[in-house]
Symmetry: D3
Subunit: 292 residues, 6 copies
């Protein structure tokens, strides 16, 4: 598992401002009409299902931005912690109106990120004790990549490249364009910055041989059976990192974690992890601004 | 079902530029290294599962932006159409590099939006023949609300409010802040712009009575059994629009579509619809810029 | 009168930064040349005519942004208060240079917003004791809508919709497009989100009948005489909200506030309210940074 | 009169996009519901009062942006032309929906800019035959400065500085900070870029002498009577440009245009010019996309 | 020398955020991997060559933005101070990771700005005792103009216009377009705002006569020998400001500073000043967050 | 040499718009005053010194943006071509005003980028025939990195990492933080994404051994003599890529290109390359808009 890259707070705040604007538009007309301006309150965010928590910083930023820093947000559990149904994830205290205005955006983020971390932890657990690592893919939700990759790391997985510029991954369409695995690898070795490893996707053992012979640093074995993967691992003999991918699910993942496999990438971590059911419960409302 | 609000093309383009930047960063180093600058190609986007298509405009914008308009994108089916596994959704032709660079972002969007439309269509189908309509909620993915609401409409559902500013929906926390259903409704009637209806969430039949007596235009019946919902409908006697919500799934939805229920809102349309499996298949590559 | 929707401070600051940039450009060359960097001062903003104050937050933001928070801005009167010529509206104390640099933008905003609030208060006063409310329109100055609508509320008026997305108002051109009042109302009832009321503009009593029969929630009576308005009110019998509009001025407004009229909309509140004469007077300058 | 500085089209478009977003928000729900997507139409913008036209480019940009270039906008008169009530200012043809969606923002801009140009022309006419020129001030509406200054030039006036960075104007507060007119002028002469003239505001003839002796290039005579202005002009004997300002109106402006006065600045051109009454009249609607 | 115009802190921060984003992208993967999150440290920025310091505020902003204000940055010398090789320019203390992440961007800015100030000081020194001033040009690095002009002022030079809008400078191509020096000057006198001086570039003494006779306020003598410049100065007799430009270097600059020459402009100050060699030296690392 | 990564045209245009705004501000007051609006012209950009051309796209974008596409820009030579003093680099034809307004920004960019490409070509030439490649560093001008790295590639050099996120380079400060070369390399191998190579800076042969033994993929030999570099190359025996860096200049670079050295990085390519002298010469002006 890799160290979660810290989320750039300037970039996070910029995104949160945009996401809040999407929901709030010209103002929360219900809260403005129904809640008194000086009313204060206390609330908790509570899990309604067991999960690994991720996204605390993003949720906190929602309340901070809407309230201009007048709300006190206290996480009861840090990113990576496990909670059960009924457990408190965070407590919020201060002016009531911004609690209600920020609620939906904060929960929308938190529920999805907890979902990613929790799903990742399931896959990581399934291969425990092997030498392989679970990694994510670029099949992320547009706009949420940094947060989703953070959630994967929090859940115990490792991050594949963050975009098209920080890793060379030659896929089937690139191979077709170049006219073959060896030619594609050679082009990349000549042209790509020297700080990037060259990884290439192969679908047969013959292509694996070509890739390794051409000097690929890593090979992605696409849509192979566990048996073929095992043979591939034996054949490459450690000359390249081996990544396995393609239609792997919780039932089959362990069968792919054979000796010699370094990485198992799972798109479903970020494109299909179900959101976790969370709720913001108001615990107390008061007429003044103290939250008491 | 309501008319899908057309997506603001300026806003869509602005989002697509940001989403592409998230993936491409400082450049697609693999494609730059492996694909010749003048190489052209033809590709198709193909469904690998049955679905209702949504998001064609967003996908097209990805290829248009990356290629600066040099790619030809032809939809084989319009938003709202149904395709089966193996069917072609769109064809793309022109310079090869931008096809490969835009691929992932376009598919990430399209797969999620087809998922929303398809899930919506299932719920709409489940209550066919009743007077109720399926509506979405604000439980959307941050950044994707307009597109997801469009996908709901494309799938046959109706859109609830788009944000906190274009509808008054008094929820349990607001009721608690105001000190009761009647007081909350009265405040909203006095303070909110006259163009907005007043809707209030209730959890008991007593609260329903209070809401209707206070002049609510619509009442959201939260987490009631189908039987209680039926009694509520009979009790309100058409004096307010009735919306049903809370833990409704495909198995139970029809039991809630009783006479007198106008709307059934389903958060899962946008927070849990599984992404549809799609692929971009390269059909042909050439050395010149014609795509032939 | 409705509760003034609080101005989003993030959005306000964003606008203020842009407005200051419009005036300051690459720097206040006069102040840089003539005022010593460490010089401090005290100033007051003073009314030169009787008015209702509006825009204190916007003015304060100008001084806050230019001085990066080093100026102390104290309002002597809150939004909604009345001042007479010679009265102090606010006092500013701290470094002298940012006071002079922010002055013009702050006064440009404040003078216009006080103008809107003051004009609104005149109309509100003119119909005092009737059941009608004064409402604004979308005839606002581009870029200033939220602030102008806030000033209307501060002046005792109510806000009509804030934009094209938070209310349905079918105008003459829409009626012409749809082929009639009834058809237009029917289309809107079917297609628009259920949280929005349906309002339609009519110019004759026949159209009023069609509108009410088709189920319009509100009807805008355009350019009718007070007598026709009275007949319309009697005819609709409370089945729809009635709004009166079109060429109404301070002399005629009371004659339109007949029984049964709910709203009187006045474009002139935001497109023709004269700016209030205000001035920033420097009271003291010192050589150090204390303002004393 | 100076040559109207051409409006930067990129900057104008950027502003127009923001102004349209302010009005349209998440979509024009009325037009979407009531107007058929393929319906086309023809409309005209018509003056309802005599005026000098200004703002054609801004209005055209509104229709161009909303329709993504599918509307044909033809000005019937160029900026600077005079029209009478009932005259056509522009004609628009093409898809109906964007005509209706862009209408309000376009008219809001055009009505205000025609107002500025028309008011300017009145002042320019009032001093016809004298050597003085009418100039604007920085008392513009935040966000509209470039357009309002353009409208002043179109109306026959000249532009004073565009902001705090393209001219040195030492005002009373600066004089107080520097400790005197002569000291303030000397500081500016030493410190300001050599491409900028030094102008200083004076309120007495003694200050005028100090200013001229200190080498001011221009002097602003603030709140003087026409007689004092005449004496000032004689006293300065052409050694500095003379600008007159302060409470000048249409009735008094000619009395200030005495020999030796170069410029008369009028804040009311941009802070109090009444908006011109304009309307968009739909002339024809059709079911297809041709506008015929 | 003119007073350095203070750098707009909002604008500076906006630029710094963009420049940091250019370097950091999705995160500093080395520091994240190698440095412990709670580790603190102390570092100094040290000159490796003699120079005039400029850009302290910009460098400080880099550390402030990356660390979100948790780093303490103390300048050891202010802008305009001279340091020798080995001298400390600033000290930074606090969390270690942001020190390392901000280092390169901060040094890239500081090294270039110190370079500009140092080069300017050389030219200023070379004409010491004469009446002429050294001024910069618009040959600045795109994006860095305000900072580079600040560095010129810090180095003892004066600033020419900041852009195309705050000064009239008629160059050879404008003269060709207008059909002659006199015609070009006349057009500018009629059309340009009265707050701007009219400067015109000439290449012969005949053109100088035409310029002065047409009323130019300043004349730029382009590519003349010192002898011709002296004759030009004598000929114009103080009727216009004289600026000398064109291929002037440190060896020749004093020969151009003859009596009557007001300004000598040097493009090389901003397009060719070599960067100063600077380094960030880590002095101490600790395991906790105190920097001790 | 690596393939120049194509410059993202959306990003380039965004930057060019900002750079033009920096120079043009509220408008080119000289050109507006002096050049007739309908006047057209022809101009050429000409080299005044021998150089390798780079930046054609950036220069073209300046003219394209200012003229809104009405100017015709024809490059006479592509990026990477060599020109001599007097050679034409590009020709521009169309409306005269935008040629003059865009001139300075276009030349400022082009001159600096040609400078980088030309300097790079000198270094590349100096090691011709050896196995080493010249690479750039992160010592680029803030805001210009992508363009400068493009210019390096155009000049025959290779690009090192583009930022802190697309390569792991453990520098002396990181080593100090981790407590040693081996520990730092181990941490990075565990934590960094698998697509990135691990490079570490060493200053002694002992550290080189530690680095190679710890599994570093590349080692940067900092500030060593050519002799020590040769020994290092022999010692590492191809087990890691070797990069040499530190105070290398044109005179010494070849002595470092010994057998076994893969890369020589030179900060001066981007921080000290002198700008190339270029000029825009107006060839013809006409009164109409044809350019003839």
């Amino acid at each position: 598992m890799n160290t979660p890259r810290s989320i750039n707070p300037n970039a996070l705040r910029h995104l949160v401002v945009a996401w809040l604007a999407e929901d709030i538009g010209r103002g929360d007309v219900t809260t403005t009409s129904v809640v008194a301006a000086r009313q204060s309150g206390r609330a908790r965010i509570e899990a309604r299902a067991s999960c690994i928590v991720a996204g605390i910083e993003a949720a906190a930023a929602c309340f901070e931005v809407v309230s201009e820093g007048t709300l006190e947000f206290k996480a009861a559990v840090a990113d990576g912690g496990r909670v059960e149904a009924g457990d408190v994830i965070a407590r919020i205290k201060g002016p009531l109106a911004p609690i209600l205005t920020a609620e939906r955006t904060a929960l929308n983020l938190l529920a999805r990120l907890c979902g990613v971390a929790t799903e990742t932890a399931r896959y990581v657990g399934a291969i425990e004790g092997t030498d392989a690592r679970i990694v994510d893919t670029r099949k992320t939700t547009p706009g949420l990549r940094a947060l989703q990759k953070h959630a994967v790391a929090v859940g115990g997985g490792s991050n594949h490249r963050f975009g098209l510029d920080d890793g060379v991954l030659i896929k089937d369409n690139h191979v077709m364009a170049a006219g073959g695995v060896a030619e594609a690898v050679n082009r990349a070795r000549t042209s790509a910055p020297h700080g990037l490893r060259i990884e290439v996707e192969v679908t047969t053992l013959e292509e694996l041989d070509q890739a390794v012979d051409a000097g690929a640093d890593a090979v992605l074995l696409d849509n192979m059976t566990p048996e073929t993967v095992a043979e591939a691992a034996s054949r490459s003999g450690g000359r390249a990192l081996l990544e396995v991918s393609g239609g792997i699910n919780l039932d089959t993942v362990r069968s792919y974690a054979v000796r010699g496999v370094d990485l198992i990438s799972v798109g479903a971590l970020t494109h299909s992890a179900p959101a976790i059911d969370l709720a913001l419960e108001l615990e107390h409302v008061a007429r003044d601004g103290t939250g008491e």
